[in-house]
Symmetry: C2
Subunit: 116 residues, 2 copies
């Protein structure tokens, strides 16, 4: 697997359960059990998902007695945003959002790797 930060972030996002966990964490810190509750999944499986998120820097682990609450760290998502944004002019072929297209042209941003 690719171990550069952007690749780690993207593959962390490439699982519905992990995306759902991230979304849940926007409401605040949550324990592993709280995060696990909506899923039909054993504890170890949840632990593994959290490790993937942690390795990507998308969550931070804390301590509270025997609990290990998780906190959202959204910064890595900014690089995903910067990767995607230059493609905005390509995904709507009818160019009905012409303002955005022209704005992109004006600031000269082009999709490039490592990264926009």
């Amino acid at each position: 697997m690719s171990t550069d930060p952007l690749s780690l972030t993207l593959s962390a996002l490439a699982h519905p359960a992990r995306r759902s966990m991230l979304a849940t964490l926007t409401t605040g810190e949550l324990t592993v059990s709280e995060l696990a509750a909506p899923f039909d999944m054993t504890g170890p499986a949840v632990t593994k998902h959290l490790k993937v998120l942690e390795r990507a820097g998308l969550i931070e682990r804390l301590r509270d007695a025997q609990r290990r609450p998780c906190r959202l760290r959204a910064k890595p998502l900014k690089d995903v945003f910067l990767l995607i944004r230059p493609y905005q002019k390509f995904w709507d072929e009818s160019f009905d959002r012409l303002e955005e297209y022209l704005a992109e042209q004006a600031d000269g941003s082009q999709p490039t790797e490592q990264n926009g």
Copy 2:
């Protein structure tokens, strides 16, 4: 692996070579050899990367004699954009882009799975 469209798109993006190929394709249609040129990679490896991109709907394969040119299809990236956008207010903790934060609040968008 997860086979929902968004997961397929994100894992397709989770490799530097594939991101680089996509970026290159913004200049227009390219053959497999042209795409492969910058990489120290054998033919089969390139074919596999292209299949991952094709499965995610990020490229389209064409025919031109013995060539199979690739064309960028950026639409799936829009869903990545919609996934990421609601987190924008979280990744800059200093909230120095207050306008955007307030705009997001106004349109009531919250990060949720399946999707923003």
